[in-house]
């Protein structure tokens, strides 16, 4: 488990992470969402032992990561811009990583090079940005990490490769219990992949939960009435947001789906349905409740 307690990281006068505490469970695929400069990459660098915390602590499997080779051997970190040694090929980089990571698995490497159509003997520097990212992913995955930390993992990948990557990550979680943390500013990318999600803004984690929990709690209800009732009629429900367009009411309600629908049906609507909100909508609803200006936090 990755666990941080009162974690603080400061760059000059700016607090990139401010007293952050949360856990990432083993075997999960955790989406860390936030706008640029929110502190996502800083968290990943702290979790991979690249950065030294300025306050609090971050532990992996109960041990501090910084300058701890045993723990770092279980973590693979892929930054937003991959780095390779000058003039090196993917095979040469694999040879290097295999000498550094005891867990490096050539079987995984072979499987991945069959999946990704790259020239493994060519200089990586001559490859496109997307190909370089694929190369970095192959190398990171080949270290058979217990924890895989990806910063903007899908940047530069085409649609097909994004699907392949998602499949690989899910496979890793299912077969090896690998924990993946993906930092991204794009919620939609994470929607069909992550089972946990956290929202980070200005160095604070505003939100951290399982997606299933979120889905179970929040509901978007559309109902049409001959005569729209007073809003106070819905006081018996935990309504987060209400919008009225003519005789149609759109509401975001927290609670059990059947209880909500029973309550609304008692008001004899012409039509009523419960729609599952998108991940982005769930975030928006949750954050609006807490008073954050969502437009500044979640940007595509």
């Amino acid at each position: 488990m990755i666990s941080c307690k009162n974690l603080t990281k400061t760059f000059g006068n700016k607090k990139a992470l401010d007293n952050v505490s949360f856990d990432i469970a083993d075997g999960s695929i955790y989406g860390l969402v936030g706008s640029n400069g929110s502190g996502k990459s800083t968290f990943l660098r702290l979790a991979s032992g690249v950065y030294m915390p300025d306050g609090g602590e971050i532990t992996v499997d109960g041990e501090s990561v910084f300058n701890n080779p045993q723990i770092k051997g279980r973590v693979a970190f892929l930054g937003d811009t991959p780095y390779f040694f000058a003039q090196s090929s993917i095979n040469e980089m694999a040879s290097f990583y295999s000498s550094m990571y005891e867990s490096f698995d050539y079987d995984i490497y072979k499987r991945l090079i069959e999946t990704f159509p790259l020239d493994y003997k060519a200089k990586i520097s001559s490859m496109s940005k997307g190909m370089q990212r694929q190369a970095a992913l192959i190398l990171a995955m080949s270290t058979a990490p217990k924890y895989l930390l990806l910063d903007e993992a899908f940047d530069g990948l085409d649609v097909v490769m994004r699907k392949v990557l998602k499949a690989i990550l899910i496979d890793g979680a299912e077969k090896r219990g690998m924990t993946t943390v993906i930092a991204s500013h794009n919620l939609r990318e994470l929607e069909d992949l992550c089972d946990h999600v956290g929202l980070i803004h200005n160095g604070n984690v505003l939100f951290n939960d399982e997606i299933e929990n979120l889905r179970g709690k929040l509901h978007k209800v559309q109902a049409a009435f001959e005569q729209v009732p007073e809003i106070t009629v819905f006081d018996g429900l935990n309504v987060l947001k209400t919008e009225q367009t003519g005789s149609i009411l759109q509401m975001v309600i927290r609670g059990d789906e059947s209880e909500i629908m029973d309550y609304i049906n008692k008001l004899s609507p012409l039509f009523a349905e419960c729609i599952e909100p998108t991940l982005e909508e769930m975030f928006v609803f949750e954050l609006e409740v807490t008073g954050y200006d969502v437009s500044n936090i979640i940007k595509e």
Partner: protein, 573 residues
């Protein structure tokens, strides 16, 4: 050893091997380049000697030239080592690469050692090849060599290369970008050297009794690089028997241990700094600001003195101080501008400029006030092992009591007139505990102190001279001055007995007839220079004698020698 430790060591060793493979290009280039120097250049030099085209027609004397060869090898391999460290740690200056290296399952200490040793260990190959080839060449006919000197030079070259790389690591770890690494590395090393020169220039000006020979110690110790080369130079001169040419008097083994100690301390400092180095500082100017502060103050100090001297034309008046302040501020603001790629921290730069100017002013004030009591320090007679006095270049032993008496005279009387630069006397004490104390004082040639003449005539002074002469066999004497029958200069070769006769006569004249004029620059004075050599012709001594017009016996004897044909004629006993 636990399995975890084994694993860590293995990762470190693997990184070492990987980095060495990456460094193959540098290693090959360094090897080729150094082999061109040695044996390449040495071989050409030897061919010239053997072909008789050189100035000397002797066999090639590798014993003497080892100093020059080894110094070049040391300097070149040290520069390559510094460059190699720069290259191997350039990952520290890019956020992309630092992410990869610092995420590797290896401790920072292991990472530093792996890369450091990968940068320097392969450089032992060219050093071994260079010195191995010298040993090979020393077995050639017509080559005079000393294997011990070659091995000593090898040990020093290797140690200095290691030390240079280790010392550079401190700068590498403290910098945040390659550009600022170069600025701080050059700025601090050159700045320290120039600052020492500036301080000694000020000492010379303001510190009564300050003797220039004190400078060299600090100059040679102003940077590990300079110290290393000076130590090697001195040790090798000692080994080939030219003690007088040694820069540092330290014993060879002490010098070597000192160099290795600097290397160890530098590596330890680098490791400590690296373990606390913040990865996020990559790409910034400096990971540790203190290195910039030191650099800034040194640059300000040098710039202050430089600009002050340029615009005041060498005088230390108001103009000097106005331009010194301006120079300090310009120096630090320019450095700050370069480091920040702008003038965001101009206030801090101005502060450093002010600190530099204040430091310069404080140096001058403290020297003028002699706050350390340097000028008034006179050793206890009991603590003096030996005392010598140098009067206008003529150095001789004196009774310690007399030396102290002379010293007191200068401190209490002549020292008050420190601005006067006329004739000089240097008092040199060798004290208990291998310490030395040197002072130089100037005196008015129109008012030569009696005590000086008394010392000049003393028996100790002449006994020592006669003792030295008795160990020599071949003498060449040159005369300069109007006393010699209107000839401005003349020379003659003398036998040992003739030289002794000449010296005895001269001493007798000095004791009976010398006046205070002998310690001045009087136009009526003539000079006699005697160069004596031992039986092998290798060791020689050189003496200067001043002759007054009243030294009739000496002048007659000289005239007698000269009238017999100068150098071509040697008088028979």
């Amino acid at each position: 050893m636990t399995s975890a430790t084994l694993s860590r060591n293995k990762a470190g060793f693997n990184l070492f091997k990987f980095t060495v493979r990456k460094n193959i290009g540098i290693i090959i280039l360094a090897t080729v380049f150094m082999l061109l120097i040695c044996p390449g250049y040495v071989f050409i030099e030897m061919s010239n000697y053997q072909a008789g085209s050189s100035f000397f027609s002797n066999p090639y004397n590798m014993k003497n030239s080892i100093i020059g060869i080894s110094t070049v090898i040391t300097v070149v391999v040290s520069i390559i080592a510094v460059f190699s460290c720069f290259v191997n740690f350039s990952f520290l200056y890019s956020k992309k690469s630092v992410d990869v290296y610092h995420a590797l399952p290896i401790t920072r200490t292991s990472l530093l050692f792996s890369r450091f040793f990968a940068a320097v260990v392969p450089l032992f190959i060219p050093i071994i090849l260079c010195y191995g080839s010298l040993i090979g060449l020393s077995f050639f006919d017509n080559v005079v060599a000393d294997i011990k000197s070659i091995l000593t030079a090898f040990a020093f070259s290797a140690a200095i290369m290691l030390m240079s790389a280790a010392f550079t690591m401190i700068f590498i770890v403290c910098a945040g970008s390659v550009f600022d690494l170069i600025i701080s590395f050059v700025g601090i090393n050159l700045g320290a050297f120039l600052s020492v020169l500036i301080v000694f220039s000020l000492c010379d000006k303001y510190l009564i009794g300050f003797y220039g020979s004190n400078e060299s110690f600090w100059i040679w110790h102003s940077s590990p690089f300079i110290y290393g080369v000076a130590a090697q130079y001195s040790v090798l001169y000692k080994q080939i028997g030219y003690n007088s040419l040694r820069i540092l008097q330290t014993e060879p083994i002490v010098s070597l241990l000192m160099i290795l100690a600097i290397a160890v301390v530098s590596v330890v400092c680098s490791v400590l700094l690296y373990n606390r180095r913040k990865s996020e500082k990559s790409g910034d100017s400096y990971a540790y600001k203190f290195i910039y502060y030191i650099c800034s103050i040194l640059v300000g100090f040098v710039a202050a003195y430089g600009l002050g001297m340029i615009f005041s034309v060498g005088s230390y008046g108001v103009v000097f101080w106005i331009f010194a302040v301006l120079g300090a501020v310009l120096g630090t603001v320019t450095l700050g501008g370069i480091s920040d790629k702008g003038f965001k921290t101009v206030k801090k730069s101005l502060l450093f400029g002010a600190v530099s100017a204040i430091l310069l002013a404080a140096t001058v004030v403290s020297l003028k006030l002699d706050i350390t009591g340097f000028s008034k320090r006179i050793p206890e007679t009991d603590s003096i092992k030996e005392a010598t006095v140098n009067l206008m270049g003529d150095e001789f032993k004196v009774n310690p009591k007399k030396a102290v008496e002379l010293h007191k005279f200068f401190v209490e009387e002549a020292g008050k007139d420190a601005e006067y630069y006329g004739q000089y006397a240097i008092i040199n004490y060798e004290l208990e505990g291998s310490k030395n104390l040197n002072r130089i004082y100037h005196y008015d040639e129109n008012d030569v102190p009696d005590i000086l003449l008394e010392i000049y005539k003393s028996d100790e002074r002449w006994e020592e001279l006669k003792e030295k002469l008795s160990e020599l066999n071949y003498f060449t004497v040159d005369f300069y001055g109007k006393n010699f029958d209107d000839r401005e200069a003349a020379g003659v070769t003398l036998s040992k007995e003739q030289a002794q006769l000449l010296i005895d006569t001269y001493i007798s004249d000095v004791k009976e007839k010398a006046t205070e004029d002998i310690l001045s620059y009087d136009d009526s004075l003539s000079h006699m220079y005697i160069e004596g050599r031992d039986g092998d012709g290798n060791d020689y001594e050189y003496f200067k004698f001043t002759i007054e017009q009243s030294f009739e016996s000496t002048l007659n004897l000289v005239e007698q020698f000269l009238s017999n044909g100068g150098q071509s004629t040697v008088l028979k006993d």
